[in-house]
């Protein structure tokens, strides 16, 4: 474990003292955060390429350059905390526990996507992750509402509500500030200031560009959002503040390398030189890499290995996803309501569709695609499908053998069998194959070894 002193990373507003400037960094944390940043960057590179290859459609907002914000914040958040963000949601989705497979598949629009291809780039959800919201600023009062739920339930969680510098001008942001302060909600408002609201620079769209002061009566903290350690330290500070004293506004000063979305080359309103300078001087990954090396927490070789592995894993994932299919047309009219009352859903010409509930588990829990559906990977990767089938058969055989060995008492044996597999699929699948529990979470099963579990913020020990 090493200690280092942060410099020029915080500015306080209405706060007696800011986060500590001396931060500790363990080798384990360093490698974890480094890996996550590299993964998040790589995911965006893959998305960028897949968009250009026309595998991804519509809107697609990339996070390149802002990685330190999501990674640094998630390093502090616990399982009980929630996050809601805007449409630049890929990194957050991944860090909040959706696998890279589920995320990229969603962008490609196939049924292994985390929203079964029905949400796309801006509408991804996970446990305690409420999206992905395509409406500029709408997620801010929603986030305050989630914070209200935390307080109402008394679960000790905080909600992180993220928005860009552009959204910070939305009226509803100020409405949310007002009520959050009045009611002392455990809400962390985070302005990810990437310098441009679409193509309008902050000094052209905001009368006060000190976004951390815009809560007026809410304390604020300016953070160098390109330094992951500063972000982490600030987040710890903000979480403590939100839990004990109510809302706080963080301004994460950062920069996006790509355009606003894939349809914006990002060159009309800024110079190439500007982007280049930031890349060379303030890149969050490069600077963290240097810090790690300086502190001797890892060597060059090790980090290169991580880079290579991430690159390889994501390449494999993206290749695999292209073999997946979109959901069937029967799901066009699926999950409009969790309790549907419409006798039939109107198609293009007549009431000829039937509503269907694919999501049998809802109520705030995200539904994983059942393993049975993943198995129906149709093309390519026959080996993969076969391996899965084999595993399933093997485990069936094992179960059968176990049941037979257990006893003659048929009924009891059967009950025991049903209850036994300690799978995490929450019994959502009536016909769940009693095969290995791992397969219940498709993206993981489908993904090559990679990170065994998507890094879930909650895995962190208590701060």
């Amino acid at each position: 474990c090493s200690t280092l002193t942060l410099k020029n990373t915080f500015k306080c507003y209405e706060l007696e003292k800011g986060p500590p400037m001396d931060v500790e960094l363990s080798r384990e944390d360093a490698l974890k955060m480094y890996t996550q940043m590299v993964e998040v960057r790589r995911i965006e590179v893959v998305c960028n390429n897949m968009y250009k290859a026309k595998h991804i459609r519509g809107f697609c907002h990339l996070y390149n350059g802002q990685e330190a914000v999501a990674v640094g914040m998630c390093a502090v958040l616990q399982k009980k905390d929630s996050v809601i963000t805007a449409y630049r949601a890929h990194a957050w989705t991944y860090l909040m526990g959706v696998s890279a497979y589920g995320l990229i598949a969603e962008l490609v629009g196939v049924k292994t996507g985390c929203s079964r291809g029905k949400g796309g780039s801006m509408h991804t959800y996970g446990d305690n992750f409420y999206g992905g919201n395509g409406i500029v600023g709408a997620q801010v009062p929603l986030g305050a509402g989630i914070a209200l739920a935390h307080r109402y339930k008394g679960d000790g969680g905080v909600c992180v509500a993220l928005y860009g510098d552009g959204a910070s001008n939305q009226g509803q942001v100020f409405e949310a500030y007002n009520m959050a302060k009045l009611w002392g909600l455990p809400c962390i408002f985070v302005c990810e200031n990437n310098q441009y609201g679409m193509g309008t620079s902050i000094d052209r769209h905001a009368a006060l560009t000190d976004f951390y002061m815009r809560g007026q009566y809410i304390p604020g903290l300016w953070v160098d959002g390109n330094q992951v350690l500063a972000v982490r330290s600030a987040t710890q500070f903000a979480v403590d503040h939100a839990r004990n004293c109510g809302p706080i506004v963080l301004e994460m000063n950062t920069y996006r390398y790509e355009g606003h979305s894939m349809s914006d080359p990002g060159t009309a309103y800024r110079s190439r030189n500007e982007v280049k300078t930031i890349r060379s001087k303030r890149d969050p990954i490069e600077s963290f890499r240097k810090q790690i090396l300086q502190l001797c927490l890892a060597d060059e070789e090790e980090l290169k290995k991580i880079d290579a592995k991430v690159r390889k894993d994501l390449q494999a994932i993206s290749k695999k996803i292209l073999a997946d299919r979109e959901v069937g047309l029967d799901e066009l009219a699926a999950d409009i309501y969790s309790k549907n009352l419409e006798p039939s859903i109107r198609g293009v010409s007549g009431f000829n569709l039937k509503h269907k509930n694919v999501a049998d588990v809802c109520f705030g829990k995200s539904r994983r695609t059942p393993a049975s559906e993943i198995k129906d990977v149709p093309i390519g990767d026959a080996a993969f499908a076969a391996a899965q089938k084999k595993a399933s058969e093997e485990s069936k055989a094992r179960k059968a053998a176990a049941a037979a060995a257990k006893g003659k008492d048929g009924k009891d044996g059967k009950d025991g069998k049903d209850g036994k597999p300690p799978s995490d699929d929450k019994g959502e699948d009536k016909d769940a194959e009693p095969k290995d529990a791992k397969a219940a979470e498709p993206p993981k099963a489908a993904a090559p070894p990679k990170a065994p579990a998507p890094p879930k913020s909650g895995d962190k020990p208590k701060s």
């Binding site: 029905k118 709408a138 009062p141 009520m179 419409e342 007549g350 009431f351 049998d360 109520f363």
Partner: protein
């Protein structure tokens, strides 16, 4: 026993707040003031600050907060002082509440109730007088109900609060103080009116009159008037605007072969327009002996002056005249 619509709503809120501690009410003046229209009278004293929350006058913000809380597993009842102000928050009703279940492929449901008075009040002019039934019923993902009497108001609100999807409950200010007879089934704590089902208020065999909310009253008055002329009108109270209970209407028209619709909203793309369209697309069309006719609010912003206001909404003589016209009688 008589009970006002207001008390029907108040007791429904009380029942459901007591039944499920995830249920809470928020809105302008709902707590200390006892509700702008006294619908939440006494609830703050009984349930306290946690369950009955006064908000500032910022619809977009508090509607968003309510939706967020619903996503996170609570069951908010979001009161709009009137539905006219819900336009400030319509993004959260549609984009945040109605669409999330579909967009998330069922990962996040939004069990929320948006409620408040809807439609024309008296003497408040254009910005405070309009019907949102057609607006909200247009959107998949929402359920929309529009109660008429105490039984409707109590049963539909309770059902809406227990429903796992977003429900818009369009009450009517002018009905709040009206008392209706209720029996013990209605006052029972588990009395529910099923969402998506219409109610036949008065059976008849000659013509069907479909209405919702306060227009049901107009329809019933007209039916009484028609009865004097020996015409038996069947009056259907829609109760739910979405889902729209077309089966009940089709069944009625198979008997009466004539149909008019009455609503206080505007005509274009309205509830009546939708019912007409459904007939065009259904074999029930061939049961009609005459074209369907709509009685709607006049296609103007609501005027302030008393006589103009009176004539801006369908009245009993308008409906009666329409019925006679459809029946080919004078």
């Amino acid at each position: 026993k008589q009970m006002t619509v207001r008390d029907g709503l108040n007791s429904a809120l009380d029942d459901e707040l007591a039944r499920d501690d995830r249920v809470f009410l928020l809105g302008e003046e709902v707590a200390q003031y006892d509700g702008a229209y006294k619908v939440s009278r006494g609830l703050w004293k009984k349930y306290g600050d946690k369950r009955i929350i006064d908000t500032p006058i910022t619809e977009m913000g508090f509607a968003g907060i309510a939706v967020g809380a619903a996503m996170a597993g609570l069951r908010p009842i979001c009161e709009f002082m009137t539905f006219n102000f819900s336009m400030q928050a319509i993004d959260h009703v549609i984009n945040s509440a109605a669409k999330t279940f579909y967009m998330s492929a069922g990962a996040v449901n939004v069990p929320i109730v948006f409620r408040g008075p809807n439609g024309a009040s008296a003497g408040v002019a254009a910005q405070h007088s309009q019907c949102f039934a057609a607006w909200y019923a247009h959107c998949p993902g929402l359920k929309v109900v529009s109660p008429y009497d105490t039984e409707d108001a109590r049963g539909l609100l309770k059902a809406a609060i227990r429903d796992p999807d977003p429900v818009v409950v369009l009450e009517n200010e002018l009905m709040y103080g009206v008392a209706f007879p209720v029996d013990e089934t209605v006052t029972d704590v588990d009395f529910l009116v099923p969402l998506g089902k219409a109610k036949i208020m008065r059976p008849g065999k000659d013509i069907t009159i479909v209405a919702h909310s306060k227009a049901v009253e107009t329809a019933l008055l007209s039916a009484a008037e028609l009865a004097k002329k020996g015409i038996e009108a069947e009056v259907i109270n829609l109760r739910s605007i979405r889902p729209l209970d077309m089966q009940t209407i089709f069944t009625s028209v198979r008997k009466t072969h004539h149909l008019i619709t009455v609503e206080n909203g505007w005509p274009q793309h309205g509830v009546g327009a939708e019912i007409c369209a459904r007939f065009m697309e259904d074999p029930a069309f061939f049961e009609l002996d005459a074209p369907v006719w709509r009685c709607c609010g006049v296609d103007v912003p609501m005027p302030y002056a008393k006589t103009l206001e009176l004539h801006a909404l369908p009245r009993e003589p308008d409906v009666t005249a329409a019925a006679l016209k459809v029946l080919g009688k004078k």
